[in-house]
């Protein structure tokens, strides 16, 4: 109980733009506004084809609702501040980095290679140092999954430097 109160107090002492409440409020309002603006670029249908409302009306209504509700939670947070979350540890950022690596490698080199690299990278950064287990998660298991999907589901994976070796 004391811990929660301390966390809340710690959050209260920060300038408003550093508080989680404001960050969440800002991000939601910012992206909702961009999306709302983009709804004005949607094509309109002539009245004869218009089924009840224009295609842009429904998403517009949803975005306004989201912005309204976000404002309410921000207002309520003045009375009842959120507890301050713990700082994110290094493995979290490394895992996010591995996702970025995955996207880059799967786009430029190879899908299978991307899975392998991510698996070894994550496993290593989460503390695994034994080579056999790194090979197990990075090569043996993805290979089994790859072949399983290919044979059972007849799936064709996107071409790449390693996948091509398998197909040709």
């Amino acid at each position: 109980m004391n811990n929660v109160q301390n966390k809340k107090r710690a959050n209260k002492s920060l300038p408003f733009f550093f508080k989680d409440e404001f960050k969440v409020f800002f991000v939601i309002i910012f992206f909702s506004t961009i999306l709302l603006i983009s709804t004005f670029t949607f094509d309109k249908v002539p009245p004869i084809l218009n089924r009840g409302i224009q295609p842009a009306t429904f998403p517009k209504g949803l975005l306004v609702l989201i912005m309204f509700l976000t404002t309410i939670i921000y207002y309520l947070s003045f009375k009842n501040p959120w507890k301050k979350e713990k700082k994110l540890p290094k493995p979290f950022f490394l895992t996010i980095l591995s996702f970025i690596l995955f996207v880059v490698i799967s786009k430029t080199l190879d899908f299978f290679l991307a899975i392998s690299v991510l698996s070894i990278f994550v496993s290593y950064n989460w503390g695994e140092r034994r080579v056999f287990y790194l090979l197990l998660v990075g090569i043996i298991f993805p290979l089994v999954v790859f072949i399983f999907f290919e044979m059972i589901l007849g799936l064709r994976f996107p071409p790449g430097i390693i996948t091509n070796l398998y197909y040709y």
Partner: protein, 484 residues
């Protein structure tokens, strides 16, 4: 009722589904929703009945499996087992892990079977009622579902509403299904078909959980030793039979409401068990009634949640949203017509759920010790493997690399949503109900010639709107009562 199940293929599917569900339930962070989403691509190789039998058996067994880790390592394998930790772990610490797991197994089985009976009798009645529903009624029902989810789901109701609205917003991406006008596609061809359900579910559940696990690497679990699961004694039965029946009723009822199914049901089942108990002071210290109350309720919610899913096409929980997707992928349209045209298919599902409850009783009773060992697989090995399956599973549905990137995006988004107190379940329900909400609203407005007030002239729709308002007011009244 059981006739379609007497084929060796279906029995194998059922056995596999129950075992797989138990493993998923035991592993903290995974669960029947993530597992169901991951296995969905594999169901494409099965006929519709086998596919849905597989998904429902995973659902039933996965819900029970969470209790094993709740009792032995004080970490709920699934969110629905959170209330089981409160008394299961203290009882296990007293050297009675076998007794705690025995009670969890028996009450889960009773709750599960009770809810299947409710499903068998109640779903056809609801389906018949649904014949009275037109577009305005379906719109009002979907709104009621979303407000109920926001109101009695986990966390802040306003945040749940935002998440639900966000889910509906995602469903509007792509070509408008009525006019074929592009919305939020920004010239990206792949987006014109919309965002698939599987990348979003796998991202929000599996990938966001992977990120959560990356923040918990220094966490150490204290395991309690388990010799064997023991059947409850006569004294335990005498003490708990009323609690089990009450919680089975509560769980089935909560399950029928479109909310978070088992999680909410187990919390209410637990608190009601405490309220009616002659020894409420024992709760939290290893009360056998506490375990019975929570476990009977969360498993009873499985059958309950299948009622609106099959009768109306409105999912009662996140896992039933996955099952609903499975139905749609296999060309089965849930709703009243399903009850009239394919009764064998439905009775196959009912029978499978019944057998799954008996199977997890047997597996749980004789294999809990073995299943508990699965938690020893380190996260640094387990999660990269889950990632590989998630990526291939997501890619396989439409063979699109964009889907994999969407999955990663929703993984990161889901992590931050959960970090800041937004439940991801309303996003899933919103996404699956999105087309229904928008479609029925627009068709209703065509019927009403654009006059919104005409909704109030339809008694069933009006009832659902009033219930929605009550659902929204409920958290306010509850917090006022708590303050007083």
């Amino acid at each position: 009722m059981m006739a379609p199940l007497f084929s060796s293929k279906l029995l194998i599917v059922l056995l596999f589904g129950t075992l797989f569900g138990l493993i998923l339930g035991v592993l903290p962070g995974l669960g029947p929703t993530t597992g169901g989403a991951l296995i969905l691509p594999f169901t494409m190789t099965l006929d519709p009945l086998s596919a849905i039998v597989l998904l429902t058996s995973i659902y039933c067994a996965g819900t029970y499996g969470g209790a094993i880790t709740a009792v032995l390592i004080n970490t709920p394998g699934t969110p629905a087992a959170a209330a089981t930790c409160l008394d299961g772990y203290p009882l296990a610490q007293k050297g009675e892990a076998g007794r705690a797991l025995g009670m969890a197994t028996v009450s889960s089985t009773v709750g599960g079977i009770f809810s299947v009976i409710v499903l068998v009798f109640f779903a056809p009645v609801l389906a018949k009622l649904a014949y009275e529903f037109g577009q305005p009624e379906y719109f009002a029902l979907a709104i009621f579902g979303l407000t109920m989810l926001a109101s009695i789901g986990e966390g802040s109701p306003i945040k749940n509403l935002i998440a639900g609205a966000f889910g509906i917003l995602i469903s509007t991406i792509g070509k408008d299904f009525m006019t074929s006008i592009d919305r939020f596609t920004y010239g990206i061809n792949e987006l014109s078909v919309g965002i698939g359900f599987i990348p979003v579910v796998v991202g929000l559940f599996a990938i966001s959980e992977m990120l959560t696990q990356s923040t918990l690497l220094d966490q150490v679990f204290k395991r309690v030793a388990l010799k064997a699961v023991k059947l409850p004694s006569l004294d335990d039965y005498k003490k708990t039979w009323k609690t089990i029946l009450r919680s089975s009723g509560i769980g089935s009822f909560i399950g029928v409401l479109p909310a978070e199914g088992g999680t909410v049901a187990s919390l209410i089942g637990y608190s009601e068990a405490k309220r009616f108990s002659k020894e409420p002071e024992e709760f939290g210290k290893g009360s056998i009634e506490g375990i019975a109350g929570a476990e009977a309720a969360n498993n009873a919610a499985t059958g309950g949640a299948m009622v609106p899913t099959l009768a109306l096409g409105i999912p009662g929980s996140a896992t039933t949203a996955v099952i609903l997707t499975g139905l749609i992928i296999h060309g089965v349209r849930p709703g009243p017509d399903l009850f009239r045209e394919q009764p064998d298919f439905l009775y196959g599902i009912f029978g499978a759920m019944l057998i799954a409850n008996v199977l997890f009783f047997i597996f749980g009773f004789f294999g809990a010790k073995l299943f508990a060992r699965i938690t020893l697989v380190p996260n640094k090995i387990l999660w990269p493997m889950i990632f590989a399956v998630s990526v291939c599973g997501t890619y396989s549905l439409s063979q699109s690399i964009i889907d994999v990137w969407i999955m990663l995006f929703f993984g990161v988004l889901g992590f931050f949503m959960r970090r800041f107190g937004f439940s991801v379940v309303p996003v899933i329900i919103g996404l699956i109900l999105g087309e229904l909400v928008e479609g029925t609203l627009r068709q209703s407005l065509v019927i009403f010639d654009g006059n919104w007030l005409m909704f109030l002239t339809r008694p069933i729709a009006l009832t659902f709107f009033i219930l929605s308002l009550i659902a929204l007011a409920f958290p306010l009244l509850r917090s006022k009562k708590q303050k007083n």
